[in-house]
Subunit: 594 residues, 2 copies
C-alpha cells in the first residue's frame, strides 16, 4: 500500500525534476497537534507517531523519529521500503547528510514551502550549499486522492470573565512591546497566539482548543483569517468593535503580499513559513525579525493576568475533584478485586472531569501506565489494554481543558507491595518536586538554573530523567507553551511572575517501573529587598500525593513540613465539593506524616 | 600631572590624525595581572584599579570601571579632567557609544593593535561601522618617558614529579585534540597555557607564576618565545630534548609571519591580538579559529592528571597548616587583648605559609576584611590599616602558590558577639557551600545547572551575591582559570572529572558585614549506572569552618553529617604536622555538632 503511494510521490518528483523530497509532520501553523488533513507523512509512510520526518529519493526512503517511537516505527515501517533512522542515537546521520550523500551537485531537494519555517529553510540552505531547494506547493493535493478536507468547527469568543483582558488592550500592549515607529504588519501563524490575542477558542485541532487561523496585526487593526462561517453574528460584531477584521482563511497569503508596501513586515522566524515570508516581502516590502524571545505574542501570553491566575486556581479545584473521585474509584475496584484496566482509568478521568460545567475536554492524550509500561515516558494506553494488578506502581498523567484554565497533573500510586528501590526512587522524585516548589530566586533567574533542584535528588542515586522538568502551560490553550521552560538545556528566558509551568521530575527503570510526580506551579513575586526583587512559586495543583511509598528518613524536616502543608491545603480546597464518603477518603490521604 | 600626560597623548593623536584613542588595562597576553611596564592606563589616568578602560578625544576623556572601583576611581580621577563612567549602571553609555557620539563619519579611532584581541577588534568594527579603526603601535613607547622596562626573571622547569606529564606527551595530546591534517601552527599568547604546555614556571607577572612568553606549536616542534637568558643551560637542553625550540621573545611576530605559508594558522580568537593575527596571515596563510571552548590548551590544562590532583591535596594540607596557625594566632591575640590588624593577619598568613618548603608566594592579593569592610567583595587591606575588635565577623580570603598546586580558601569567623541576622546568613551560606559539595550529577552537567545549589539557601532569605560561585583553579598556575565555571550566566563547558573549581557562596550586607565560605573542590567520576556516568566533587580544602555562628535548625541532618565528616577529615589530615597545642586547638574546632 505505502509502496504504491511512494511511487505516486516519485512520479510527482520526476515530473517536477526533484531528486529528493522532505515530508515533515507539522502543519503551516507550527503547533504541537495537526488535523488529519495535514497528516501527509503518516499517509505516505504508514508511520502513525506524532513526530517523524520522511525523506524520499527515486530509489530510497527513510524516516527519522525519536526514541519514543523506535519500536512502533519499526513495526509500522516493516515491508514499506522505508528505512528507520533513529534520532539522537550515535552514528545516525541527519536528514541533510543522508540526502547530500545521495544527490549530485545542483540537483533539487523539494519541500512544501508552507511547512518549513524561515529558520528551517535557512538552515537547509546552509546544509545543502551545492543543491537547489525547490519550494513546492502541497504535492498531496494531487496525489492523496482521498485526503480529508480541512475542517473548520465553530469558533466562540472567550469572555473577559475568563480572559481578564480585552482584545483592544492586548492589541495595545503588543504595539507597545513591538515598539515600531510608523506602519507595520505583525504576521502571526500560531493558532494559540491568535486565540489569545483575539480572545477566541475553537476545536479545529486535537487537545488544543484552537481555531485554524492566521492573523496580521497593523497599528489600527487585527486582520483575522478564519473560516468566517464559524462565528455567530453576535461574536463577529463584538470582534469588529475591537477592531478585529475577519477575513477568509485562504486569503492570508495574498493579503500580506498586497498590503501597502510601506508597512514594515514583522514575524517570528521560527513561526512564519518560507512561503508566507516570500508572500510578505513580495514587491520589496521591508522585513524585520521579531526580536522578542519566542515571539512577542508568546511572551505576552506567557504572563498570566490576575483573572487568568484565578481561573487556573478554579480549574485546578475542578480537576482535583475529578482526580479524587478517580483515585478513590481505582482503590475501591482494586480492594474489591474488581477488574480495572489502564483504559478504564482513562475513561474514569474523562467521566469525572465531565461533571464540571467548565470542562471542555482533555488537554492531551491521557497516560495511564501500570508497572513496566510507566518506564516509557510517553506511554499511552492505545493498543492492547492492560489490567491493573495489586503490585507495584501505577502512573497517571492526565489533564483537562476548562474554560478558566488548563491542567496537567501526574501522580504515581502504590497499588500493592513495593521494593525498597521503588520506595527510595519515589521519595527522591518527591523530594525533587518539593525542592523546586519551595525555590525562591532573584528576578532574572532562568529555568536552567532551577532545574537541578528537581533533578538533583534522583541524580544522587545514580539515576536520571532525560526530559525537561517543566514546560509552560497556556490558559485554556496549549498544555505545552513557551517561551519559558525548566530544563537542562540553556533557555535565556527568565521565569517571571505570572508564568505557569509544570514541575515534573521522574525516573524510569526500563522493564520495571516509572515514577513521575507533577504539579503545576505559578511564579509570583515574593518580595523586594535591598538585594533586589525575589520570586517564588505558588503551587496550583490540588491532588493528594501518595505518602505510602515515602521513606521518611530521606526527606528533611522542611520537606515534610511542605508536604503536610500541601495536603492540608488540598483537603481545604477540595473537601467542600465532595461527598461525605469522598471527604473521609481524602482526609485519610491528606493526613500528616511526622 | 595627569593633565600634562593627556596633553602628550593628544599631541600623539593629532600627529597620527586620530580623533579618539582607547586605552585598555590588559597586556598582549590577555591574562589577569600585568607588569608595571604595561600599566599605561594607570600612568595616563592616575586610576590605579586593576580593571578600567580609558577613552580620549582632543577635548574629553572618560574612564569605564566596575562597581568594585567606583569610590576609588572617583577619588583618583578628581581634578584629572577624566570623567568616571560607571559600568553596569543603568544609563551608562558604552565606550563605543561615547566615542561614536563625539566623532564624525570616517574619523579615526586609534587602538594599540597588540592589546585588542581578534574578537574585540571585530566587535569594535561592528560598533564603529562609519568610523575608521587605526591600528597603532604602542604610543606609550614615545610619550611615557620614564616607563619601566619589560622585566624577565629566571624561568625554571617544573619537574614531572609535579606536573605528571612530559612536554612531549602534552604536545601529542594537543595535536590529537586539534585534529588537523597536514602542517599547522597553533599560536598561543596566554602565558599560563604556555607554562602548562612547556612545564615551565617563572615570576614575570604578579601572583601568577608565569614567564612572559608566546608560543607557536607545529606538528613537530614547540617554538617558545621567551627571554632565553632566563634559563639555565641544563633546562635549555631538557626543553630541546622535548622538541621545544627557544626563540627570543621579540621575534614572535616576525616568526609567525615568515613561517611557511602552507601551514594552517590556528588560534583562539579571544587570545590572539589583532596585531599577531595580521602577522600570522600576512602573505595569505590560511587561518582557522580554535573551535575548542576556551581554547585547546586551556581545555587540556583544566583536566588535572593524577599527579596534579595528588599535588593539590598536598598543597591543601600545607596551606591548611598555615591557616590553623594563623587562626589560632588571631584568637590568641584577641583573647589576650593584643592589638591585631587586617594587615597583621595578612602577614601572619604569608609567614606561616613560608614555613612550607613548597611555598612559592601568594596566589592573589590577600583579602582580610573586618566588619563592614567585608561587605566589599574584593576588599584588600591596602590603604588604611584596620584594627580587629571583638565583635562581629572577620572575613579572610587568601591563597598560596605551592610547587605542587595552588590554593584559594575563604573563612569567615566570629570574633565576638553576632546578631541573629549574621548567624542566619552565615548558616545559609554554609548550607549552600555544603549543598554544592555534595552534588552528584550526570556527565555533561554544566556549572550553570549547579550554581543554584550554592545560591539557593541565601536566596531564600531575600539576599544574594552577584558574583559567580566557582572559578577554575590552575595547578601551580593562575588562581583563576577557565574554561569551566559555576555561575548564573550560561557557560557551555561541562564540569568534568579532573577539573578543580572553587565553591564560594557569599552574602554582603552593605555597611555592616560580609560572609563568604570557600572550599576548593575537584570533580571526580562517581559511578557508572544504567543511566550513564555520574560525577561528584571531592573537597580539597582542609581548613576548619567556624561552627559557632551556626543555627542548628537551619541545617538538615544530611548537612550536619557532611560538616562533621569534613571536620573529622580536616583533623585527620592536619594534626600530624601540628604542634601539641595546635592539635588541641584544632581538635576543639573540629568537634562534632549534633
Amino acid at each position: 500500500m505505502e509502496k504504491r503511494k511512494l511511487q505516486m510521490m516519485r512520479g510527482y518528483m520526476k515530473e517536477m525534476a526533484i531528486s529528493a523530497f522532505i515530508v515533515p509532520s507539522n502543519d503551516p501553523h507550527f503547533g504541537e497537534y495537526i488535523q488529519e488533513h495535514f497528516n501527509c507523512r503518516t499517509w505516505l509512510s504508514g508511520f502513525t507517531g506524532s513526530a517523524g520526518t520522511l525523506a524520499i529519493t527515486q530509489t530510497e526512503a527513510a524516516l527519522w523519529t525519536d526514541s519514543r517511537y523506535f519500536i512502533q516505527a519499526e513495526k509500522e515501517l516493516d515491508g514499506s521500503g522505508i528505512e528507520l533512522k533513529k534520532m539522537r542515537v550515535a552514528g545516525t546521520e541527519t536528514i541533510e547528510q543522508w540526502i547530500a550523500q545521495r544527490l549530485e551537485n545542483n540537483q533539487s531537494v523539494g519541500i512544501d514551502s508552507s511547512l518549513f519555517s524561515f529558520t528551517e529553510y535557512n538552515s537547509l540552505k546552509l546544509a545543502f550549499n551545492n543543491l537547489n531547494i525547490q519550494l513546492c506547493n502541497d504535492p498531496f493535493e494531487t496525489i492523496w486522492t482521498e485526503r480529508p478536507p480541512l475542517k473548520f468547527s465553530p469558533v466562540s469568543l472567550l469572555s473577559e470573565e475568563y480572559t481578564g483582558e480585552s482584545v483592544k488592550s492586548k492589541h495595545n500592549r503588543l504595539k507597545t512591546l513591538l515598539n515600531v515607529e510608523g506602519q507595520f504588519l505583525y504576521i502571526i501563524s500560531s493558532c494559540d497566539e491568535i486565540a489569545w490575542l483575539c480572545n477566541i477558542r475553537g476545536r479545529d485541532i486535537p487537545y488544543n482548543p484552537l481555531p485554524l487561523s492566521y492573523a496580521a496585526v497593523s497599528p489600527e487593526k487585527i486582520f483575522l483569517f478564519v473560516d468566517s462561517s464559524s462565528f455567530t453574528l453576535q461574536d463577529k460584531r463584538a470582534l469588529e468593535r475591537d477592531d478585529v477584521v475577519i477575513m477568509p482563511y485562504d486569503t492570508f497569503s495574498s493579503f500580506i503580499t498586497d498590503y501597502p508596501e510601506r508597512a514594515l513586515r514583522i514575524a517570528n522566524p521560527d513561526k512564519i513559513s518560507i512561503r508566507n515570508y516570500n508572500s510578505a516581502v513580495k514587491g520589496g516590502a521591508r522585513f524585520q525579525l521579531d526580536q522578542i524571545r519566542g515571539g512577542a505574542v508568546t511572551m505576552l501570553k506567557a504572563i498570566k493576568n490576575q483573572v487568568e491566575q484565578e481561573g487556573f486556581r478554579k480549574a485546578m479545584i475542578h480537576d482535583g475533584i475529578a482526580w479524587v473521585k478517580t483515585l478513590r474509584a481505582i482503590e475501591e475496584k482494586l480492594n474489591s478485586d474488581k477488574r480495572v484496566t489502564e483504559k478504564d482509568i482513562a475513561t474514569l478521568f474523562s467521566d469525572f472531569r465531565s461533571l464540571s460545567p467548565l470542562y471542555k475536554g482533555e488537554s492531551f492524550a491521557p497516560i495511564v501506565a501500570f508497572g513496566s509500561n510507566a518506564a516509557l515516558p510517553h506511554y499511552s494506553p492505545s493498543s492492547e489494554d492492560v489490567l491493573i494488578s495489586k503490585v507495584g506502581l501505577l502512573l497517571m498523567d492526565t489533564g483537562g481543558q476548562y474554560l478558566c484554565g488548563t491542567t496537567d497533573t501526574t501522580r504515581t500510586i502504590a497499588v500493592g507491595p513495593l521494593t525498597y528501590e521503588q520506595r527510595r526512587d519515589y521519595t527522591l522524585i518527591l523530594k525533587g518536586m518539593i525542592n523546586l516548589s519551595k525555590a525562591r530566586f532573584l528576578k532574572g533567574t532562568r529555568g536552567t538554573q532551577l532545574d537541578f533542584l528537581a533533578r538533583g535528588p534522583i541524580s544522587s542515586s545514580g539515576k536520571i530523567y532525560m526530559h525537561g522538568t517543566g514546560h509552560g502551560i497556556g490558559h485554556y490553550l496549549c498544555v505545552h507553551e513557551g517561551p519559558q521552560s525548566i530544563r537542562m538545556e540553556e533557555n535565556p528566558v527568565a521565569i517571571e511572575p505570572g508564568m505557569v509551568i509544570s514541575n515534573e521530575p521522574a525516573v524510569y527503570q526500563p522493564g520495571e517501573y516509572g515514577i513521575r510526580i507533577e504539579n503545576v506551579i505559578l511564579c509570583q513575586k515574593w518580595m523586594e529587598t535591598e538585594s533586589g526583587i525575589f520570586n517564588e512559586f505558588e503551587t496550583l495543583t490540588f491532588v493528594p500525593i501518595d505518602t505510602n511509598p515515602v521513606i521518611r528518613e530521606l526527606l528533611c524536616d522542611e520537606e515534610i513540613k511542605w508536604l503536610n502543608k500541601y495536603h492540608s491545603m488540598v483537603f481545604e480546597k477540595l473537601s467542600p465539593a465532595l461527598e461525605p464518603k469522598e471527604v473521609d477518603w481524602l482526609s485519610d490521604r491528606c493526613k500528616e506524616i511526622n
